[in-house]
Assembly symmetry: C2
Homo-oligomer: 353 residues x 2
């Protein structure tokens, strides 16, 4: 397959929150990104505007990018709808025979104008969220010595995917056979496989996630990316099905220090972490024991000193290790995973790596 040369579309939304897909692809697939496309920021660099991506140029048009072959939609707006103004840019890309990768709920392949343009020009549309999951879970055939870890959180967009990837990579660096299991569009774009769980018909959500276990349990340790929050008024169905589908032995709580209300719902306060841990452990432990093993603190709003203090505070509050995977590295959490592996599966597997 031809190497991807990606232009990330962030037109009018080049900020780290709305463009979280862009930031994550820049972080974990930097070698594939040739430019960002945002005519309102053209001439600047990704590093200047997003605080990430270094010298990657921001361009005003596909003409200004260096031989791109892929346009990747770089935002994940609430509800998943495509901003109308972006459609012309997508038409342009398809007309050039490029691939267009989208994680939106509104499938590009349902837009006849886009489909026709792709057919005329040899472009391709890849709707990452599109699926036809129709299997229920069975809770059978699960490998007993494959350890399943799941990141959970107090809200959306706080770093559950990042914590999952960083812990998986740290475990690999330490010589263990760990795999990041993607459950959202950005994770799938980075990892190349996974399931877009929030777009699965709800009756088949748990079953779709169980299939991710079956597909990946030849690895020793699975890091299941979390979605939403059990305390999120909008997305708790997704979170619950994912939690029961991936049957975690251990949970890593992810939260953003300083955030006080649910993203986009200023009238809904966040749930205090001790209460939230109780909710997760209660729901997760119905059929098998599950426990909190660590906390990934997103401390981007804090100074380094405040971040250290916050990690110490929350570690004391919840009785497990806590760190910011960017500031402190993921080793403390990776070690907590290995401790759980030793406890549950025995030293033979834990020491075989």
């Amino acid at each position: 397959m031809e190497a991807r040369r990606i232009v990330i579309l962030t037109e009018g939304h080049s900020n780290p929150i709305t463009a979280k897909t862009a930031v994550s692809v820049l972080r974990y697939r930097p070698e594939e990104v040739v430019a960002l496309l945002d005519s309102t920021q053209a001439g600047k660099t990704s590093g200047e505007v997003l605080g990430f991506g270094g010298d990657t140029p921001i361009v005003a048009s596909l003409d200004d990018a260096d031989a791109p072959n892929t346009l990747l939609i770089g935002i994940a707006p609430m509800g998943g709808k495509l901003p109308a103004a972006w459609r012309d840019i997508i038409l342009d890309a398809l007309g050039r025979g490029m691939s267009v990768v989208s994680g939106l709920h509104d499938f590009l392949s349902n837009d006849q104008g886009l489909v026709d343009r792709a057919a005329e020009s040899g472009g391709t549309i890849f709707d990452v969220r599109k699926n036809n999951e129709r299997d229920v879970s069975h809770r059978q055939g699960l490998r007993e010595d494959c350890l399943r870890i799941h990141t959970v959180g107090h809200d959306c967009s706080i770093g559950k995917m990042v914590a999952s990837i960083e812990v998986a990579r740290e475990l690999e660096r330490m010589g263990h056979d760990a795999k990041f299991v993607a459950t959202g569009q950005t994770g799938i774009m980075i990892e190349g496989d996974g399931c877009p769980v929030d777009c699965v018909v709800s009756d088949f959500l748990n079953g779709a996630v169980e299939k991710l276990i079956l597909a990946n349990q030849h690895h020793d340790i699975l890091l299941f990316e979390g979605q939403g929050s059990l305390a999120h008024p909008r997305y708790s169905a997704v979170t619950a099905g994912l939690l029961h589908g991936c049957l975690p032995h251990g949970l890593i709580m992810v939260y953003e220090a300083g955030r006080e209300t649910i993203n986009g719902m200023p009238h809904v306060p966040l749930t205090p972490l001790p209460k939230l841990v109780e909710v997760y452990e209660t729901l997760a432990s119905i059929h098998m024991p599950t426990k909190l093993i660590g906390v990934a603190v997103n401390s981007r709003l804090l100074s380094p000193e405040e971040a250290d203090a916050e990690c110490q505070r929350v570690s004391g509050e919840l009785g497990v290790v806590a760190c910011d995977v960017f500031r402190h590295g993921a080793a403390p959490l990776a070690n907590a995973v290995l401790e759980l592996q030793k406890e549950l599966i025995g030293s033979s597997v834990a020491s075989s790596n």
Copy 2:
């Protein structure tokens, strides 16, 4: 609109468990049903075979039914798939210009052969589960003096819909403005409105249920039909989204006495009721207080004396009123609803009816 003259298709599956849709339509819309269609039981009556529906005849062919205009798929199989042998019968009905009503996950309207036959003959296809829900919840604009009650349970197919309908009807008989809010295909077939929550894309499930509040809160009391169970390995996503979407003030626990394992999963034991109540109350109460107010015991496997004893036992165990809505009537549960209304909303509303 022409009155419906329904033939319920139960071909080869005329038993009360698999044909639960048939039983419920016979129970709550008896005046509309002219026959059951099951060639393996032809000549018998619905009462003989299903234990319900009295003298309603079971016929071998649409020719043998009395002027039917509607064919209703009377089963709700696991996974929602259409048994292949039934397709010919559906083609026959559409060829006669009849309406075909289906609650299956496999939409009849996705089957080009069926669509073509309907177009040729003036027949119509109504896929009850088909939806395009794309709204998230907002938790705003909720009427404070509308009481929301939700039936929950330990498994599928135990009587949550029935308990919801019976309590709503009992409240109406007592002069109150109560409404059964359907959330599954059978409930929608009976009530004529609602939302097929298990077929909603999971990101929009909570939002779809919140819209049911907004559409119905001009009534004083809403009885939200439950789905699945928080302890069900397959369907807990549906249950969780419904629970958070309908924001219940009170929960009615429904269970079948004598059942020991999850329906269709003999290796998964049912969760003890006190633990299950804890799980429901914990998840439901994150943003507003919710409590158990009563228990609807499905005692079909018990003798009358055993049923009375079981209700007394579970009432003591859980500390709330318990009854079998068929054996004992729904008045004890209706009174528990009115007590909660008085407690939360005040005597002015509670005594205005």
